[in-house]
Amino acid sequence: MRIGVFVCHCGTNISATVDVEKVAQKISRLPKVKFSATYKYMCSDPGQNLVRESIKEHKLDRIVIASCSPRLHEKTFKKCVEDAGINPYLVEMANIREHCSWVHKDMEEATQKAIEITRLAVAKVSRDRPLEKTYMPIEKKVLVIGGGISGIQSAIDITFARYPVTIIEKEPTIGGRMALFDKTFPTLDCAACILTPKMVTVSQNEYTTIHTYSEVEEVNGHVGNFRVKFRKKARFVDLRKCTGCGACWNKCPVKVDSEFDLGLGKRKAIYVPFPQAIPNVPVIDRQNCLWFTSKKCGLCKKICAFGAIDYDMSDEIIEEKFGAIIVATGFNQFDHSVYGEYGYGRFKDVITGLHFERMANSSGPTAGKIVRPSDGKEAHDVVFIQCVGSRDEQKGVPYCSRLCCMYTAKHALLLKEHNKDSQAYIFYIDIRAAGKNYEEFVKKVQTDYGAVYLRGRVSRIFQKGGKLIVRGADTLSGGQVEIKADLVVLATGLIAQADAAKLAQMLHIPYDQNNLFTEAHPKLAPVETITSGIFLTGACQSPKDIPDTVATASAASVKALGLMVQDKLEREPIVAKVNPDACSGCRSCIQACPFSAIEEDEIEDSRLKRKRAVAKVLEGVCTGCGNCTAVCRMSAIDLEGFTNRQIMEEIEAL
């Protein structure tokens, strides 16, 4: 064995606190260390060259780099030694920066510690075994969970590369929240006008399969090979026969509050959520349909000229395989009924931003008129309150929802356009208009549309004389403000969907205390999760506007395509391995594994002459965390690259 040790100065990051020459000198005295040197920046090209040249010149077969954390340059040095003909798993990094020079001040003590750390790395590398990467097949199909703008964009990008994609959408139609909006900031594009072309593109593409009114129920497997079970809920209308003529919903006698119009309008028990829905096929709401509740009516079936109504339809469970999954499940709106000061959600004329969108929308429940829901009269004095639910550690969520300043400004603009004599009053804490052309937009709303911005919170809203009395503070002028408003619009924040936690657990992806899915790294990997093969896009990861949503959608699809284009998936060999002879089948490792990467298997025991249970590692899923090796009382399971023997060697070297 001929070990080479390279100690890095890292400029002065290490050498200012650790005497790197002394470290190199002391380590060179160890048996098996045949070469020891220092260099200013080991990770640089000349630094790496030094390693490669030394390997050739001194016939080195194992390498230790004493420098920074392996999280930064482990890949660099693995590739470096591989180029020089050494197996990449025969290189160890001794962290004498983050673990030593950066956290100590005394040079003598820090140098001693650095020597210790490097000595341990030498001990480990002496026991390292050469390992080979493994390869797995990849299912060339992507699953997109969620059919809103983010899911649609991801799907479009995947199909552009000619790979098949399946969208599973919970609602009876794709389109998501964007379908509810009127105009979008800052361009004031009509939301439906820019969304529907994408909806058509994705649905008419030969590579896309869309399952609406469907929900994911089980996800097993791992990157390249996910097995997904989903439920296609019964619509009671045959997708193949229905032409979307509308005869059924015209005749349906039942009217209920429309979810799409947030209760401002009505829909029938058999309905299509909005006119441009895809598929343009209705669904029967069996909670309110007279046939399902009391076996009466049945008019829709009688009137359908295509025989598309089928009351006997049942849910379908479908299982399919996918190579990658993109999570695009979006957001929900904060429920402001926790705020007693705003009426506990009981005042009809205190509405949310989304309600305002529905009213402003010309195909909405008020035909585009901004009115008071209580009496239908046109709204003139309208108060907008920003940050409802957001930035509130007591009753809401602590984060900023990012869009509300912009959509409130937009609403003030739309109000003026719809009602010429109206006046908008906006209570704000800050104005967050960080996007492109956003600041200019907000300014325009103030100068050209006369919106009055008041910096302060609203302490109370109450009803008197048919108006809403809004009491707030105007901190910039230092006074109290009382406004008699016709309508109050609350800029409610964006929160995670109600079933977000359940979905995250199904997918084995982490989520935070706000039930927003956690990205692999907030700065450097915002669309990946730590679960290989599962990517995030849109508001399910954090509140974002349409431009950012579309950007993350394309980013996630690139990540998914990165998997699709490979013939086979390269997997790190740092995985757990079971020695079935020593395994007692106690299943402790199966319970300890956070990734469900260990299964029970049966082997034929030739000595006992019967079958017995042992553990089996699913190498594709195993992340090499080592939990299993810690709990195994038989030492039957060991982690390649961090074996018990290797760790013991380090401990004995101390």
């Binding site: 007693g340 000061e341 506990y344 109370r460 109450f462 009803q463 008197k464 009395i469």
Partner: protein, 291 residues
């Protein structure tokens, strides 16, 4: 039902009718109120703005006296006494530093073990509205009132734990049971000016005036309260409010125990109506005439 009764300073002086009517109601319902012997002032506002430890020690002394009666539940009618006693309990139970210091001052061990209940809470939640309904002999129908809760009954919510802090309803619920119509009005918990009554009477006139105006606008003939200072500001200062703001309010301010007492068949003269500044006689006559 037995309670150690803590009337507080006001109920023995300016709010005598509250004390009278409370005792009369308790008597009629069979609730035993045993006045804590030799009780002292709870400290109210002056104590907590002068010296923090004093403001905790004073209530604790009273609570210890209640404990000495072998009673673990104190009943009080005044919202300020209620608030101070509960806050003292909160500190003594959860804050070790306060506990040690105050125990040293009072010379005894106390850990917040004596519970404090407001009489409104006892009537509505402990005795129960259904039981009240059974005892009502005279439904006071035809009377429209605005129930005014003031500041200390429901705030701070973690301390009082009494009612909803934006839309309290305990008094309203009680009024409905005795046949009185509580109006829906937005000033249930607006500030009346509180102890500025003496130092800045102008503030009280403005704020209490607004409360009277709102009650009037919503159709109330009287205001019902559960606190001596609420009663005082709205009743005592009504004449000055009328003069300053050129109004003509004649809105009697009742304690909930007075109206409850009437409905239970207790004689009017036992309920202290003669102690009011704004004379409620005319109004009471109209509702009793309707019987």
């Amino acid at each position: 039902m037995k309670y150690a009764y803590y009337p507080g300073c006001s109920l023995h002086s300016t709010a005598r009718e509250y004390d009278l009517s409370t005792r009369a109601v308790a008597d009629a319902l069979g609730i035993e109120l045993l006045e804590i012997p030799d009780w002292i002032c709870c400290g109210a506002t002056p104590a907590h703005i002068t010296m923090h430890l004093l403001s905790i020690a004073l209530p604790v002394k009273n609570l210890l006296k209640a404990k000495a009666m072998d009673s673990y539940e104190v009943a009080t009618c005044c919202a300020a006494c209620f608030s101070r006693l509960k806050i003292a309990n909160e500190f003594m139970e959860h804050d070790l530093e306060h506990r040690n210091k105050v125990n040293k001052i009072v010379g005894q061990e106390y850990q917040g073990e004596v519970k404090v209940r407001h009489f409104l809470d006892i009537i509505v939640n402990e005795f129960g509205l259904k039981n009240i309904e059974q005892r009502v002999v005279d439904k006071l129908s035809g009377l429209k009132v605005a129930c005014y809760y003031g500041c200390l009954l429901t705030r701070p919510p973690e301390i009082t734990q009494l009612d909803d802090l934006e839309e309290p309803h305990l008094m309203d619920d009680l009024m409905k049971i005795i046949g009185v119509e509580p109006v829906s009005w937005p000033y249930k918990t607006e500030c009346c000016g509180a102890s500025f009554s003496l130092t800045r009477t102008d503030i009280v006139l403005k704020l209490s005036g607004d409360i009277l105006q709102m009650a009037y606008d919503e159709g109330a003939q009287a205001i019902v309260v559960a606190c001596p200072l609420c009663q005082s500001n709205l009743d005592l200062r009504q004449a000055a409010i009328n003069k300053k703001y050129k109004k003509d309010f004649q809105i009697p301010i009742f304690y909930f125990t007075q109206l409850l007492g009437l409905s239970l068949g207790i004689e009017a003269k036992k309920l202290g109506f003669n102690k009011h500044i704004i004379n409620p006689a005319e109004l009471l006559d109209t509702i009793t005439k309707k019987r």
